[in-house]
Symmetry: C2
Subunit: 336 residues, 2 copies
Amino acid sequence: LHYNLIEMTDVPTFADIEAAAVRISGHAIETPLLENPVLNARVGGRVLIKPEVLQRTGSFKFRGALNRILVIPEAKRRNGVVAFSSGNHAQGVAAAAALLGMPAVIVMPRDAPHMKIAGTRSHGAEIVFYDRATDDREAIAARLCEERGATLVKPFDDPFIVAGQGTIGLEIARAAQSRGIAIDTVLVPAGGGGVVSGIALALSGTSPNTKVISVEPENFDGMRRSLASGARTRAAGGAPSIADALMALMPGEIPFAISRDRLSAGITVSDSALGAAVAFAARHLKLIVEPGGAAALAAVLSGAFRSGGSTIAIVLTGGNCDIETVANACAEAREP
Amino acid sequence: LHYNLIEMTDVPTFADIEAAAVRISGHAIETPLLENPVLNARVGGRVLIKPEVLQRTGSFKFRGALNRILVIPEAKRRNGVVAFSSGNHAQGVAAAAALLGMPAVIVMPRDAPHMKIAGTRSHGAEIVFYDRATDDREAIAARLCEERGATLVKPFDDPFIVAGQGTIGLEIARAAQSRGIAIDTVLVPAGGGGVVSGIALALSGTSPNTKVISVEPENFDGMRRSLASGARTRAAGGAPSIADALMALMPGEIPFAISRDRLSAGITVSDSALGAAVAFAARHLKLIVEPGGAAALAAVLSGAFRSGGSTIAIVLTGGNCDIETVANACAEAREP
């Protein structure tokens, strides 16, 4: 009961991120902070790369999911967890539950990428499919929770999820500081805003002069619009973006409450810039990055964000796409 | 003159690796030591991953090339360097020369992978193509050196090259020790044997209980045969392996002089095991690894090496292949 109350109302603090870091330590991977001379030369500045594609389950989502599940009271754990997700959150929840020996049910759209369905299944989760056009995934998840006494693990609008994702910000700040590097700006992809808000909260406590900017696909720019208007504002939406992970129309309440005063800007990138970034990551960074995970890289490569010689960090949030997506991106974004 | 003498005769010592580490520091990337729970589960033990695909130019070759070029006497530098290579060494030499503002000529087979030719060109090197069937690449390189007063940078049979590659071993040992991990065995792909011998030399000085094993493609198992016979022995060769980087028929003199007493074994992997490893790396490690670079991973995944629950480290030596190679490997190595 106590935790449900927290879940619904509280905005996390910097201390919650520090607590999350302790909680998930030893399970979540502390991903490295990389640098690539080809990228630096292309951008004309220094770019630090935080590759969450190397995180357990191939995306940052494991951090928040594990942090959330670890605060479920002992007595409720055996009833398991339920989550709805197009993919990366599903895998994060499934893997975190499996680690703790808890059952997990994932409500997934029938058209989710094959790689994400297979990844979720590989962690032993039960999958309940729904139709994006006709079904209400939240209602399905709520019914499952009621039937089984299970705990709903939301994708972003939860203080423990946001705090868990925020541990990325702690790691970036500490790695940079240990090398004597001052980061001017961190660019982070945004869907519901969980990871960008968590990182902004972490940096406000560890590196207050570092700016944080969200990057969204065109037409799915809820965070950009919300920052501009000062209140949660819905994006236009429309034709699906190749960034299937970033198709939320609006930031969550908790993410936006954090982001409103802490993000410097919200910018957008086109699908073709996302594809070019996926190709660049494969060719030059030797990393498999899914289109949504490449949004911050797309921003610096396309000129949507101009570093002006400053030191920036980008988060590559996930790498769960079929290899054909990468091969197609490389075919379309030919290099000389 | 002094350096030419050393080049022809001397076997490097552990101190040469320590000197190389100082020399290349700040230019070569200290690659992270990663771990992946899917790989650990698949192998049934702990596998540390040294991803040299994240090294400058996408392979370990930059380390040795830079270390070698940095000892060229000031007066000879303006005449530049010459190298013959099927690809990764070419890029390493070209990038290292470019970094020091020196001209580089690379003698490459006409059928080298597109990605490796483009990579070499991107560093501003001049490329001279030869025909594998009819031309003598060493003669071409020797003539170029004579004409230009340039320095030949050999791919592996050079103490400074071997010492440079050995810095990988120092980094593995130090990263493991800082985390309190004792590594039982390190598996390293072998072509001419430069990197495996360098790593073996480094570990003999920093972690003497760690075994080192070379991994070669079937039919290109010169190191395995040489270790078995106690003298440099030629492999059968034959149809090209998909591991274009590992098609040397025999280890170099200096690499074998080091390896003879320091490698525990030489093992081989099939082309289909190499392809499966390339696919595994893309799917689960989110890394682009070329077939030759995946030989050590192939050894642990295929069972050619059985860890028996021990702690091992594998070096992913390079990631310079066209994306089609990875896509084809994924298509052929389907997972459930």
